[in-house]
Subunit: 566 residues, 2 copies
C-alpha cells in the first residue's frame, strides 16, 4: 500500500481525533465494551486461546530477533491470580537495539507528518484486533479484572495513542514544509526558497510500569513515533507480555508497509539486571518517557544533566475534600467504587479524605451527617461492593506486587498503633483462581496532625479519613500536600458555589493539580477520558508530563530550516 | 478601554501574525525603514531629542519605583562611540521585584489568551512610537550603526515579539476553555462540565545581552507574558537604556488599561554585583530566557536542577562551505557584507569558511578560481566596503565591549605566530565620534588541521579561511564543528544539486543546524526574518531555544482541568 493511500484511508480518523483534541468533546475511536456486538462472536474465545498459546514459550514474534534464538532468554512474570506465565523474551544487547533504532530513524524521519500519523493509525488498527489477547495478558500481569484490562489496555489506551498521534501531527503540520518567500525590496523583490524540516530528537525510550503496561506506555510511544523518533520500549519485567504483543503487532504492520520494523523494539530486562538507567544514560537516547515511582527523579536528573527530553509520571498523593453533598449516599457509593476499583492500584485513586469533623451537610435529607456515621456508611458501601458476587472480584482484581500487599499490613500496623481502623482489608475471592493475591480496601482514620502518616503515597488499597475544622482547613491541608507531594487527581464535594470557586482557583493555580467536583453516578475521579481530560497536570511533583498537551509532543522534535537563493 | 474592545482592535493583526507563522510567507507589521514616509517628518528629530534628554539623569519612568527615589541608583553604560551615557537606574531589591511580579500574576493569569495577546499587541503599538529613541539608545550601548539599530531594535524586534504572541496565543487557544462533555452510557448519557485553565509556570526572567538589547529580549519577554507569566527583565549592565525605555512604555500601557504595571519589571544590576544567578535561582522564578555565552550553561544547570523551563542562545561557531558558485563575485560581495555588518558581532555572523584548496568553480566565468585569488578578492571587497564613505562606518558600527576589541589583537597574534593574515583589522572612522571603539574585519587563513584555532567562537570581527580537500572534507569539518560547538547559521555555496541535497540532509539532520544555500544579492545569512525563519535551531550546543517554534511557548504554561458533575 502506498503512503498516499494510507493517508487517504486514515484521513477521517485523524481529522476526528484532531477535532476532538480541540473541542474536548466526547470522542472514542474504539469500543470500550468487549461485547460481541462490536467484536464478533468468536473474538473473546480466540483471544483467550491466543493468550494461552503464548504461555510457557519463548516469545518469538519480535523483529529484532530476526528468527534468531541465540540470545539469552528470560522471563519472570507471575499472574497475581496465582500462576507463573512462563514466557521468556530475548535479551537483545543494548548496542544492537540502539544501532537498529538509529538505522530505522533515517527513513522514518523523512516521511511527512501525515504519512507518519497514518502509518501509526494503521499500527493501532491492526493491533486492536488482539484486544482480547492483550486483555488476558494485562489481567495476568497487572492483576486488573478482565473487564478493566479490556478497557484500560484496549480502547482507552488506543484512544490515548490516537490522541498523541493527533496532537503530534497538529504541532508538526502547523508550519508549512516549504514556501517561496518574497520580500519587497527597492521596487523589486528578493526571493528565497525555504524548506522546513521536522528533525526528531533521537532515540526514544519508554519505560513501562507493572500496573498499566499498555495504558501508560502508548502515549509516550506514539508521541515519540509521530514526531519522527524511533522507540525502544522497556517494560516492567513483571509485565512484559501485553506490550510485547503490541510491539510485535506494530513491527508486523511496519514490515508489511515496507518500513523498517525496528522502528519500535522491545528491551525486555530482568529484576536482577535492570536496563532502565543503562538505556536512559545512553548518548543516543534523547527522549525518555517513564511511569512509576521515585525512580522518575533519577531519570529526570539524568535527562537534565544530558539535555534529554523527559516525561514522567511519578508518585503522588490524591486528596478529596468532603464538605457538603446534594446526596451523600451517592457520594459514598462513588467513593466506595473508586477505592475498590483495581484495589486502589491506580495512580489516580484517591487516598486522603479531608472531612469536616463537625459533619457533612446532606441536602438530600436536609441533615448534617456526623463524621462517625460517614465512616461507618463508607465501610458498609465497600463491604457491599466487595461481597457482591457479580461484581466484587472483578472490580477489585488482584494485587500486582508483593510490595503492595505488604503495604496493606503496614497500614494495618500503623492504624493499630496510632490511629483508628475504619475498615480492615481482607482477601477478595477470585473464582477459579484460589491462589490469587488480593486485598480489599483498608480505611484508616487519622488526625489532621498526623501528616507523617498520610502525607505520602500509600500505593494500593489504603486510604485515610482526616477530620478537619471545615472547608478552609481541608483546602489548606490539601494544598500543602499538593505542593509537597503533588497529585494526579483531586476531588471536592461541596454544594457551595463560593467554596467550589475558591477550591478551583487554589487547587489549579496554586496546587497545580486537576480538580473534580461532586462526582457521583457513572463518573469516577480515577478515570480520565482521552481527547478530553488531560492526564497528569505536568506541573506538580507527581510528574512533569500531561497526556496529551502540546508540550507532550513539542519537545520531541525541532523544526530546522533550509533557505536557498535560486 | 474594555478588553473586548482591545481584542476587536487587534484581531486582524493577531490573525495576520498567526497566519504568517503558519505559511512562513513574508510578513512584517512594522516598517523597517526609518523613512519619513512611514514615521512622519518630525519623528527622527524628536527621537534624538528624547534620547539626549535621558542622558546623565536618573531613569525615573519605571512603575516599580512608584516615584520613590530612595533606592540605590546605578549606571555604567558607555557608548562604543566614545562617551558615557550617565544614566542611572534604580536597584530594586530582588524580593520586591518577586513580590510585585507574583501580585501582578494573579490578575494576568485569569485573562483569556486573546485578551492577553491583545493587551500585548497594544504595548507594542505604543512602544513603537519610540522607535527612534530606542534606536539611539541601542546605537549608543551596542555600538550598532544607527540604521541597523533602528531595524534590529525596532521593526525586526517588534515583529519577533508579535510572532511570539501569535504562537503563544495559538498554542493556548487550540483547546476550548470549557465544554459540556456527554458520554453515551447505557441508553442515557453522563454529563460532565469541564473547564480548562491555562496555568502559567510562574515568574519569568529574561536576561539580555549587550549587543542586541531589544532583539534578543523581546521574544522571551512576550512568550512568557502571553502565556500568563509576569516577567522580570535583567538587562546587561552595559546595555540597559534601550530595554528600560521599552519596559517603561509597556508599564505605561498596562497602567492605562487598568492592569498591574509590575507585570513587567526591570532588574538593573551592575557588573560588580550581577543579579542573573540570584534571580535564576530564586524559587519563584520558573521560566528563564538567556542570550549570551557560556554562562548559559550555568543557567541551564540551575534550571534543570530545579525543574525550571530555560531557553538559551549561547556561543556557537558558524560555518560556510565555498565549493562552487554561479557568480563568485556576487558571493564575495555577500560574504564581505556579512563579515562587515556590525563588525561581526552578530550571533549569526559566519566565522569559518571551508574552501576547496583546489579552487572554486565560478560558472559566471567558466573558470576555477584559485584559493589565493579568492582570499585576495575577499579582502579587497571588505576594504572597498569599509572605505566607502557613505557606507563603511554605518555598516561596521562600533565594538560593543573591550573584550571583543582585545580579541581582535589576539587573533592577529595567532595569525602572526602560526597562520596567515589575509586581511588585517583597522579602526573604522565614525564621523562625529572621534573616540569610537571600532575594528574592521580581520581574516586569517589556517590549515584544516588547526581546529584548535578555528573550532571555537571568536565573537567579533574575526574569521577564518580553512582550505579543504573539497566538498566532502568541508562538510565533514563543518559537521564536526556543529556537533562539538553548535551554530546559529551555516551557509553552503555549491552549484551541484547532489552536494546541496547531501549538505541539507547532513547539516539539518546530523548537525542539527539551519542551512542557507548560495546567498547573494539582498539576503544575508546573518539576517533572519520573523514569521518565516526560525532563529536558532534549539537542537545543537549553541542553544536550546528557537524563535519562535511551538516549544518556545508550550513549556511556559500547563493546561489543567476542572471537571464538575452538575
Amino acid at each position: 500500500m502506498s503512503f498516499a493511500q494510507l493517508v487517504s484511508n486514515h484521513a477521517q480518523t485523524l481529522a476526528h481525533a484532531v477535532k476532538a483534541n480541540a473541542t474536548r468533546e466526547y470522542f472514542a475511536h474504539w469500543q470500550e465494551s468487549p461485547s460481541k456486538k462490536f467484536y464478533g462472536e468468536t473474538a473473546a474465545d480466540e483471544g483467550e486461546t491466543a493468550f494461552k498459546a503464548l504461555l510457557n514459550m519463548k516469545f518469538m514474534n519480535l523483529s529484532h530477533t530476526n528468527g534468531a534464538t541465540d540470545f539469552q532468554w528470560h522471563g519472570e512474570e507471575e499472574s497475581p491470580y496465582g500462576f507463573p506465565l512462563g514466557v521468556t523474551y530475548p535479551q537483545v544487547p543494548v548496542e544492537t537495539l540502539i544501532t537498529n533504532a538509529q538505522a530505522a530513524q533515517k527513513q522514518w524521519q523523512r516521511l511527512a507528518p501525515a504519512e507518519r500519523a497514518s502509518v501509526l493509525i494503521q499500527t493501532l488498527e491492526d493491533a486492536a484486533k488482539q484486544f482480547f489477547t492483550i486483555a488476558h495478558a494485562t489481567m495476568h500481569t497487572s492483576g486488573q479484572g478482565f473487564g478493566m484490562s479490556f478497557q484500560a489496555s484496549g480502547a482507552h489506551s488506543f484512544d490515548r495513542a490516537l490522541e498523541a498521534i493527533a496532537i503530534g501531527y497538529s504541532e508538526q503540520a502547523q508550519f508549512v514544509p516549504e514556501v517561496t518567500w518574497k520580500k519587497p525590496a527597492g521596487g523589486g523583490e528578493v526571493t528565497v526558497q525555504k524548506r522546513f524540516h521536522v528533525v526528531p530528537k533521537g532515540v526514544g525510550l519508554v519505560i513501562g510500569c507493572s500496573t498499566f503496561p499498555i495504558w501508560n506506555t502508548l502515549p509516550g510511544l506514539y508521541a515519540s513515533l509521530v514526531t519522527g523518533n524511533p522507540v525502544i520500549v522497556k517494560p516492567h519485567p513483571k509485565a512484559v507480555l501485553p506490550i510485547a504483543i503490541v510491539v510485535a503487532s506494530i513491527q508486523a504492520t511496519l514490515k508489511g508497509l515496507g518500513l523498517d520494523a525496528n522502528l519500535v523494539q522491545l528491551a525486555a530486562d530482568s529484576s536482577a539486571n535492570p536496563l532502565s538507567l543503562v538505556l536512559a544514560e545512553h548518548p543516543a537516547v534523547n527522549v525518555i518517557d517513564f511511569t512509576g515511582g521515585a525512580f522518575g527523579n533519577v531519570l529526570e536528573d539524568v535527562a537534565r544533566k544530558h539535555g534529554k527530553s523527559v516525561f514522567t509520571e511519578k508518585a503522588g498523593v490524591n486528596g478529596v475534600i468532603v464538605e457538603s453533598a446534594q446526596n451523600l449516599d451517592a457520594v459514598l457509593d462513588n467513593i466506595a467504587w473508586t477505592l475498590t476499583l483495581y484495589s486502589g492500584q491506580m495512580c489516580t485513586t484517591s487516598q486522603n479524605f479531608f472531612v469536616n469533623k463537625n459533619g457533612v451537610r446532606d441536602e438530600a435529607t436536609g441533615t448534617i451527617v456526623p463524621l462517625d456515621e460517614i465512616t461507618k456508611r463508607l465501610a458498609a458501601k465497600i463491604d457491599a461492593l466487595i461481597t457482591n458476587p457479580k461484581m466484587g472480584g472483578g472490580v477489585a482484581g488482584g494485587i500486582q506486587s508483593e510490595a503492595t500487599h505488604k503495604r496493606v499490613q503496614e497500614a494495618r500496623d500503623v492504624a493499630a498503633k496510632s490511629a483508628i481502623l475504619v475498615r480492615d482489608s481482607a482477601p477478595v475471592p477470585q473464582a477459579g483462581f484460589e491462589n490469587a493475591r488480593t486485598a480489599s480496601p483498608l480505611v484508616v482514620q487519622t488526625s489532621a496532625a498526623q501528616s507523617d502518616i498520610y502525607e505520602h503515597e500509600w500505593f494500593g488499597p489504603v486510604s485515610f479519613i482526616i477530620p478537619t475544622d471545615g472547608f478552609e482547613h481541608s483546602l489548606q491541608l490539601l494544598l500543602r500536600s499538593l505542593k509537597a507531594k503533588g497529585a494526579l487527581t483531586t476531588l471536592v464535594y461541596t454544594t457551595n458555589a463560593a467554596e467550589r470557586d475558591a477550591a478551583e482557583e487554589a487547587i489549579i493555580f496554586e496546587g497545580k493539580a486537576p480538580v473534580a467536583f461532586n462526582y457521583v453516578g457513572g463518573v469516577y475521579v480515577n478515570q480520565s477520558s482521552a481527547f478530553s481530560d488531560f492526564h497528569g497536570a505536568g506541573a506538580n511533583p507527581a510528574g512533569n508530563a500531561s497526556f496529551a498537551d502540546a508540550s507532550f509532543v513539542t519537545s520531541r522534535f525541532n523544526v530546522i530550516g533550509a533557505r536557498e537563493v535560486a
